[in-house]
């Protein structure tokens, strides 16, 4: 107990939830294997040797228990199992599978320790290890934080190898031969005399074989799927309109619904009048939800029309209702009383900044919407004493449990079918729409209900990336940064999110300052302090979370310091970096972009570096200043992922991160009036379009260090690299996003 208490004191938000949630179970449960979720729901004749492999007469299905929201994770996870199981790539099917304790995400929780990803000291490792234990106990099946590959790299290969071991042993029994004489090839076991038994034939016998805990894994030289650019398992379906997102689920007798909730999210509904709505064609029911109303009809458009006809009297929220008031509350929280953490304090910053030339600046970023292409939706069907739900969620265990609660059922009576997702970006870590669908299923027992939010509802009811403000001070010596003091204030997304999941949130939130305290710059005097603003309007995780703004703050300010001292911003960073893979990405991007070679008049280039979830990434942005505005020509990206499992997919994720980051950098801003967002759709919440998209040239490096996820890494550096390019081309230093408030883009 003593040890756990120590951890709880020192642990940061998500960790504390895991500790408190998990402590009751004790360590014996950690040593126990989590039950195989596939066994609970196994069709007749099918077998499930491990939680990741199901074999039936039709073939082999691999379970990829993480959200496929575009990042290609199903393909990479399937490759991990397929590599060791030895099956033909075009023969496999891949499913998300039902939620299960076996699918807990250890790496994500380990990411939440308040130590740099590069810190392998005893305290850092001890806390990661302790939190890994409680992650299994809680257990959190979460897709987020670019954690999947690190989490499942070993686990899913072991699952494949263990299943292959059992299939070989089963074959040995059947053939009366020693297992050592048997080989496998693309889904069959082959005897020396050429006899061949397929995995499908062997599966039922293999069920009786005890699985090895740590079977030998193939050395890298023998990989045939891993390290290769594999055709994505979802590609053909997504190019032919045959992929099933939750919004596409069709069931017999289905009815269609939409909701309108208080646009001041979380505030109450005082009264409403649905008389007109109820009289409209196709309307079946109007349901009073807490804080809003749902309309159920026989067609989605009819539900939309009727919902627009409902008159509402909304309550005021308890939080500030205008952008100005929200920003005031955030800025006012940069005080000692609201200090949340100080995760870096190297040297003596006060002494270093007491004399000589000190540069000071304030930076700001706004609230942002996730704006996934597929609006929030879910299908729920209460029938025969159970609730079936189809939804795209990044944390299915929480979604299932909260849906069960609202439906008055036990979690074991709820089957959550996780579908493909039309974008996630963190929005689908929140499950408000799943809970609503469950409420509607209860209101329409026996009928499948498809709930679809209008885009306007999706924009209004988002849990935004919070605004943040930074104050920075710095000094230079011998053309190097000698003192760097960064203070960041923002509401805590972890506190906001854990509260909704009903989990405790004790201790500081390292996400406020992530990406500012943990960068591998060997600056002698380096201090990073976080301040926590009051909770205010609900906020949540957005692709790269704190990195999404902290990279802008520190990489812009480092550029300011370099410019002030007449130092080359790229070479100065190279001289400051203390981490070899980080230096490598920076020197690689310098070569790729021709850094240092003169550009034509009116053109500019800017650089930024960032260590995100342990992956080093450097970008150079090239722009042209035209009469019509700034044109972004090219973005060069060098990224080190330790081991590259699928190079072409990593390239896609870097391009994706750059474009996502540019959308936010150029345009992204949610503002508020009366507690409601003032933006409602893509006409006033712009995102990058084809004509604005630059050429993006990616180089993937492999230092051979720990394997790193890539879903978020491309996002953080692009805003500062662009702002730095604008400074270089125009002399204008922009310290606020979105940039369009200060400069015109083509």
């Amino acid at each position: 107990m003593g040890k756990i208490a120590t951890i709880a004191r020192r642990t940061f938000l998500i960790g504390s939830a895991a500790v408190v949630g998990g402590v009751a179970f004790g360590t014996y449960k950690f040593k126990q294997k989590a039950p195989n979720p596939l066994l609970e729901d196994l069709p007749q004749g099918a077998t499930a040797l491990t939680p990741y492999v199901r074999i039936d007469a039709q073939g082999i299905t691999l379970i990829a228990p993480r959200a496929e929201m575009g990042q290609g994770i199903h393909t990479t996870l399937a490759a991990l199992v397929a590599e060791e199981l030895d099956v033909a790539w075009d023969s496999i099917r891949v499913e998300h599978g039902l939620p299960g304790a076996a699918y807990y995400n250890r790496a994500l929780v380990e990411h939440n320790v308040p130590f740099s990803e590069l810190d392998h000291s005893f305290p850092a490792q001890a806390m990661r290890s302790a939190l890994g234990v409680v992650a299994k106990l809680l257990p959190l099946q979460i897709t987020g934080g670019s954690s999947n590959v690190a989490d499942l790299f070993d686990r899913m290969r072991v699952a494949g190898a263990a299943a292959r071991f059992a299939l070989i042993a089963a074959s040995a029994q059947k053939l009366g031969l020693p297992a050592a004489q048997l080989k496998t090839n693309n889904g069959s076991v082959i005897a020396p005399d050429g006899r061949r038994l397929t995995y499908i034939e062997l599966a039922t016998t293999a069920v009786g074989i005890e699985l090895p805990d740590s079977p030998a894994l193939k050395p890298r030289e023998q990989w045939r799927y891993l390290g290769k650019s594999m055709p994505r398992v979802d590609m053909v379906a997504k190019c032919t309109g045959t992929a099933t997102f939750s919004i596409d689920v069709q069931l017999p007798d289905m009815v269609y619904a939409t909701v309108r909730m208080n646009p001041a999210k979380g505030a109450a509904l005082l009264k409403f009048d649905a008389t007109a709505a109820k009289a409209m064609r196709g309307v079946l029911k109007v349901v009073d939800l807490s804080g809003g109303v749902a309309v159920i009809a026989n067609n989605t458009w009819r539900a939309f029309q009727a919902a627009q006809a409902v008159q509402f009297d909304w309550a005021e929220p308890s939080y500030p209702t205008s952008t100005a008031a929200m920003m005031e509350s955030i800025v006012a929280s940069m005080t000692e009383k609201n200090r949340d953490s100080q995760l870096r304090n190297d040297g003596n910053i006060d002494t270093a900044l007491a004399s000589g030339k000190v540069l000071e600046a304030e930076y700001r970023v706004p609230f942002l919407a996730h704006a996934t292409m597929e609006p929030m939706n879910a299908v729920a069907w209460l029938h025969d004493g159970k609730l079936d739900i189809w939804a795209g969620v990044q944390n299915p265990t929480s979604a299932r449990d909260l849906a069960a609660k609202v439906a008055g059922l036990d979690a074991s009576q709820v089957s959550l079918h996780v579908t493909l997702m039309g974008g996630g970006f963190g929005r689908r870590l929140e499950v408000d729409f799943v809970v609503q669908a469950a409420q509607l299923a209860v209101a329409m027992p026996g009928k499948p209900v498809k709930l679809t939010w209008r885009r306007e509802e999706d924009m209004a009811q988002d849990f935004y990336r919070p605004a943040a403000v930074a104050r920075l001070r710095g000094a230079m010596k011998d053309k190097l940064v000698s003192a760097f003091d960064v203070r960041v204030v923002s509401p805590s997304v972890v506190e906001s999110n854990l509260g909704r999941l009903g989990l405790p949130a004790l201790g500081p939130d390292p996400k406020i300052i992530e990406g500012a305290y943990d960068q591998p710059y060997g600056i002698i005097n380096y201090r990073a302090t976080a301040f926590r603003a009051p909770a205010g309007r609900p906020v949540s995780y957005t692709r790269s979370v704190g990195n999404s703004y902290n990279a802008f703050f520190i990489e812009s300010f480092i550029d300011e310091l370099a410019a002030q001292a007449g130092a080359d911003p790229l070479n100065m960073r190279l001289a400051l970096l203390t981490h070899e893979p980080s230096k490598q990405v920076l020197s690689t991007v310098a070569t790729m972009s021709g850094w240092g070679q003169p550009l034509a008049v009116g053109r500019g280039r800017g650089v930024a570096f960032h260590l995100c979830r342990g992956a080093a990434v450097a970008q150079v942005v090239e722009i042209t200043v035209t009469k019509e505005g700034v044109k972004i020509d090219k973005v060069f990206v060098a990224v080190d992922v330790g081991t590259a499992l699928d190079p072409r997919n990593i390239e896609a994720q870097q391009q994706s991160g750059v474009i996502f980051g540019l959308s936010s950098a150029l345009f992204g801003e949610i503002t508020f009036a009366n507690g409601a967002a003032e933006q409602s759709n893509f006409h006033d919440y712009s995102v990058l379009r084809m004509r604005q998209a630059p050429q993006i040239i990616v180089k993937v490096l492999e230092s051979g260090g720990p394997i790193r996820g890539v879903g978020e890494t491309g996002v953080p550096p692009v805003a500062p690299a662009l702002a730095n390019a604008i400074f270089q081309a125009t002399g204008k230093r922009i310290r606020e996003l979105p940039l369009r408030k200060h400069i015109v883009f083509v």
């Binding site: 575009g70 053909v236 993006i696």
Partner: protein, 152 residues
């Protein structure tokens, strides 16, 4: 009302002002055409009417005089259209939600202009949003499909 979708004739009983998108999705169970913005801002709902790309989310079904083609009618996994094949060759899709609309817009472009320049692609494709940022691969796939269609 009568409607021809992917070569098949349907009789529907809906309000004439119902957008084609919702007739396709909720009445005819053709879910390949996607809903996203509902106001012709994102292109996810793009279909062809007599070969022309239209945004089905703002097209009242009663206003249609022509044959409708949706992504399901363009090609199937077994019989891919050249544009779909190029999309797969370039591994374009990420989340994939916008891709039905992207492919329908690209196909309409190539029918009019079998050798589009980058500027032509910008013009024809800027009405189709992709939050995953597949734009570089969409551009490459269109050039590839154009070559395939021209037989070069």
């Amino acid at each position: 009302m009568k409607l021809t979708v992917n070569g098949k004739s349907h009789t529907i009983d809906t309000e004439p002002e119902m957008p084609l998108l919702w007739v396709l999705r909720d009445e005819l169970n053709l879910s390949g055409t996607k809903f996203s913005c509902g106001m012709a801002q994102c292109g996810s709902c793009t279909v062809h009417i007599d070969g022309r790309a239209v945004r089905s989310c703002v097209t009242p079904v009663g206003s249609i005089n022509g044959a409708i083609t949706t992504i399901e009618g363009l090609g199937t996994p077994a019989t891919l259209h050249a544009v779909q094949a190029a999309w797969i060759e370039h591994q374009v899709a990420q989340c994939g939600y916008c891709q039905s609309g992207q492919i329908m817009s690209a196909t309409a472009l190539l029918q009019k202009n079998p050798a589009p320049t980058d500027a032509d692609i910008n013009e024809a494709m800027s009405g189709n949003l992709c939050r995953c940022g597949a734009y570089p691969r969409i551009r490459a796939a269109i050039h590839s499909a154009a070559k395939q269609i021209r037989g070069v």
